[in-house]
């Protein structure tokens, strides 16, 4: 599969119009992370957006008591990283590959330019990111409520 | 078969039932109220007592010169205290030395029992409990046995109580079924007292014919009919039954329940006096020797927070939710669960509520809170 096919099959792009996907392909490259490799590192410049093709990535917070325990794990069809979208363009958490992980990596400058140049692209990506953020927020609230805990 | 009884005839009826081995239960005055208890004879009946009832209000007034024995309406007791007792041993568990448990259920061989003075709404309540307890896939055998041991002498109400609404619930005021004999108390203008009696079963007719009393004349029947019609005309409390189920289902999240939460004490009085409320819990106890345990079934009220206990806490923690459960069960979900309404219109829950909450007024308030733009399809 070429980049365009991989992108078309990713859940993040499922509802996007073909012209929007073409603009995304122009910013994309394939990357591979071996176990232990960082996709995002807390406080580093947020210059890339990732869509996971396969593998597993864990989101962690550095330097807390929970230490190495992941907050959430992500895999195929998930998106990683939205801090590139808003200032100050720095990652807030760590994202580390737990298994060999293939991703589509998008250059953030390229994405931002495409979004500004074409409002249809801007809307589609913003909407996709919002969906990701909402799902993560809902998941975090559910985890926080300790549903399965002893009453 | 219809006949007329004078005072000796009524005494003779009670004596005949006692001779036949029946334990006779009926109304008597105790503690400022008319209650149901074992009757020694006709003198135990509440002659010359009349009750006055209103929301949160019950008073007995003596009328010493009035020869009537049944000029009251329903009191705090229902017959369920005999048919579905407030406490009853359910299972006795014995542990043997080798650790084996032996489970025995209490013997169910009730004595033949005659009820005198059951009202139309109370017969309807028995039929409701029949559907719940005897109609279950695994019926309550003890209830069934006690029910089968009954001889029922109904009394047709000669007066409507201040909280009665049986006509709207379709249960009264005249009992038409569910009795062996039905009495109508007739006070002649001259002060003579008599009872028109009608049989409702072959058993009832057999008892009546053995008494050798006078057959009723058309004039007696006419007098009885005047009593029935007079009572019906007196019924002032209204709660039209049409659309009640749909109304309550539509109101599950109505703000009106908050108003109930602020008034209702969750004391459970309404469930104790209600003749159809049947809920029970089981209480476990072990004898001090540690070898025998008893499981006792007790009346339970849906107003207790523990009623809806789950490991995570009570489902119905708020009093508003508990009142909603009670009234919605009674008037709506009872239909889905047991094929009829759970309310017979006896009015006990109104009279015996310490703060005077009136089920009919709450229903009216719920109806009134229907927004204007919602199509009203109740009547």
């Amino acid at each position: 599969m070429d980049l365009a096919d991989q992108l078309a099959h990713h859940a993040f792009c499922a509802d996007m119009a073909p012209p929007v996907r073409e603009r995304l392909v122009a910013c994309a490259r394939e990357e591979r992370f071996e176990p232990g490799a960082f996709l995002l590192r807390q406080n580093a410049p947020a210059a890339t957006f990732y869509l996971i093709l396969d593998g597993q990535v864990e989101i962690k917070i550095a330097g807390t008591a929970v230490g190495h325990a992941p907050l959430e794990t992500l895999g195929k069809d998930d998106a990683v990283g939205w801090s590139w979208f808003l200032p100050p363009h720095r990652w807030h958490f760590d994202a580390v590959a737990r298994a060999t992980t293939h991703v589509l990596a998008f250059d953030a400058d390229c994405l931002r330019q495409a979004m500004q140049a074409d409002s249809a692209v801007g809307y589609a990506i913003t909407r996709g990111l919002l969906e990701v953020v909402v799902q993560r927020l809902q998941a975090a609230r559910m985890q926080l409520s300790d549903l399965y805990g002893q009453p | 078969m219809e006949a007329m009884l004078d005072i000796d005839g009524l005494a003779g009826l009670i004596d005949a039932l006692k001779r036949d081995g029946y334990d006779v239960l009926g109304p008597t005055v105790r503690g400022g109220a008319i209650v149901y208890d074992h009757l020694s004879g006709i003198d135990a009946l509440p002659q010359g007592w009349r009750d006055e009832q209103a929301p949160g209000h019950y008073r007995l007034h003596p009328q010493p010169d009035d020869p009537r024995r049944f000029d009251h309406t329903v009191g705090p007791h229902g017959w369920k205290r005999f048919l579905h007792p407030a406490s009853e041993s359910q299972v006795r568990v014995t542990r043997s030395a080798d650790g084996v448990l032996r489970f025995e259920s209490a013997p169910a061989t009730p004595a033949p029992t005659a009820l005198i003075g059951a009202r139309a709404c109370e017969l309807a309540a028995m039929a409701v409990q029949d559907r719940v307890l005897a109609g279950a896939a695994q019926p309550d055998r003890a209830f069934e046995a006690r029910r089968a041991a009954l001889f029922i002498i109904a009394v047709q109400c000669g007066r409507a109580g201040g909280t009665c609404f049986c006509a709207d619930m379709g249960t009264g005021p005249r009992a038409e079924t569910g009795y062996d004999l039905a009495l109508t108390e007739i006070l002649e203008p001259g002060g003579a007292i008599g009872w028109h009696v009608e049989s409702g079963s072959p058993r009832g007719a057999a008892v009546l014919s053995r008494l050798g009393v006078a057959a009723a004349q058309p004039v007696d029947r006419a007098a009885a009919e005047r009593v029935w019609a007079g009572t019906r005309a007196q019924l002032a409390v209204r709660m039209p039954a049409a659309g009640l189920r749909e109304l309550l289902y539509r109101k599950l999240e109505d703000p009106h329940w908050d108003s109930l939460a602020s008034r209702c004490l969750a004391c459970g009085n309404c469930t104790a006096v209600c003749p159809t409320c049947y809920c029970t819990r089981v209480v476990d106890a072990v004898a001090l020797d540690g070898w025998i345990a008893e499981r006792t079934q007790e009346w339970e009220s849906c107003f207790n927070p523990e009623f809806s206990h789950l490991p995570g806490g009570s489902v119905r923690g708020g009093i508003g939710a508990r009142y909603r459960q009670w009234i919605t069960h009674k008037l709506a979900s009872w239909h889905d669960q047991f094929g009829s309404s759970g309310c017979v219109g006896c009015g006990r829950c109104i009279s015996w509520c310490p703060v005077g909450i009136d089920i009919t007024a709450e229903v009216a308030a719920l109806r009134a809170s229907t927004p204007q733009d919602v199509p009203e399809r109740l009547e």
């Binding site: 864990e58 929970v66 230490g67 325990a69 907050l71 959430e72 895999g75 737990r98 799902q135 809902q138 998941a139 559910m142 300790d146 549903l147 399965y148 805990g149 002893q150 009453p151 | 359910q90 299972v91 568990v93 650790g99 084996v100 448990l101 489970f103 025995e104 259920s105 013997p107 169910a108 061989t109 719940v132 307890l133 279950a136 896939a137 695994q138 055998r141 599950l252 999240e253 049947y278 809920c279 029970t280 819990r281 089981v282 476990d284 072990v286 540690g290 345990a293 499981r295 339970e300 849906c302 809806s308 490991p311 489902v315 119905r316 708020g318 939710a321 459960q325 919605t328 979900s333 669960q337």
Partner: protein, 287 residues
């Protein structure tokens, strides 16, 4: 007691009278012993026929009864399995019972998972915490009958790796090609290699055919609410979603009143109900 009286009052195992059973085996599901599984055997006679999803009333001498779902059977050894969480007065007492101790059993009661509805289709099982117990017999059925369903997706949510139930079973199920098992925890540890997150995410990602799938849900009510939303979003219709609801079952035979949930008596009409039949009351507070 003579036979006539017994007929009138009910025989052991019938109505409200428990039958004598014994704990044949006991094992701890969670290291701290707060969740444990009994294999129980009747003192006399056969193990009653049950359907996956049903429950029994278990009695501890002198303490009381609790409704516990049937989590499996040892068909050959004549036992039933019950998995209990020590959380209340009775279950805490049961936690102290040992192999060989006597108990009372009534049942089975209630409705079952509609295995026939799922036959030949994709079957999605969403289990939260102890909610895996009543779904375990469905997995056993799928293990014994590989052709019963097209594919089975068992999506398990639990608090942390330590509270994962039936670990040996989960490993055995995972090895079958037609069974896909995903375990997700709220809080993972350094050694946890599985998913961290919520079980609804697994519903979103599982590779089932929404147009020909049936879902069985059992777990905390908030979890089931979110799982229903996720299934609806995937396109599973309401009449193909079944939930198992917990209420205060006491008599098991519909005569004590405690387990009411709106128009339903949950010991008789539940615990398994079809979602489209309860959608109108599923979100009513304190019902």
């Amino acid at each position: 007691m003579d036979s006539l009286e017994q007929a009138a009052a009910g025989r052991p195992g019938e109505g409200l009278v428990p039958a004598p059973w014994r704990i044949a085996a006991r094992r701890e599901e969670i290291a701290d012993g707060s969740v444990f599984t009994w294999s129980v055997r009747p003192e006399a006679g056969e193990v009653p026929i049950y359907r996956p999803g049903q429950f029994n009333m278990l009695y501890a001498f002198g303490v009381g009864e609790v409704p516990i779902s049937i989590s499996g059977d040892g068909a050959a050894s004549g036992t039933l399995m019950h998995t209990l969480r020590a959380v209340g007065r009775v279950t805490r007492a049961m936690q102290n019972l040992k192999e060989g101790d006597a108990i009372g059993v009534r049942g089975p009661f209630g409705t079952a998972w509609p295995l026939e509805t799922a036959r030949g289709r994709d079957l999605i099982l969403v289990a939260g915490g102890i909610g895996l117990a009543p779904l375990r017999p469905v997995m056993c059925h799928a293990m014994r009958n590989p052709e019963a369903f097209r594919r089975v997706f068992l999506l398990i949510g639990c608090r942390d790796p330590q509270s994962e139930l039936f670990r040996d079973d989960v490993i055995a199920w995972s090895r079958r090609p037609h069974l896909q098992v995903e375990v997700t925890v709220d809080r993972g540890g350094p050694a946890w290699r599985g998913h961290v997150g919520v079980v609804t995410k697994r519903v979103q990602r599982a590779d089932f055919d929404p147009s020909d799938a049936v879902a069985f849900l059992c777990g905390p009510e908030p979890m089931m609410r979110f799982a229903v939303l996720a299934l609806q979003q995937r396109g599973v219709s309401d009449d193909r979603i079944f939930v198992s609801m917990e209420r205060n079952m006491q008599c098991g035979i519909g005569t004590c009143g405690h387990c009411q949930w709106g128009r339903y008596l949950m010991c008789r009409d539940g615990p398994v109900l079809r979602y489209d039949e309860i959608a109108d009351i599923f979100d009513v507070r304190e019902l």
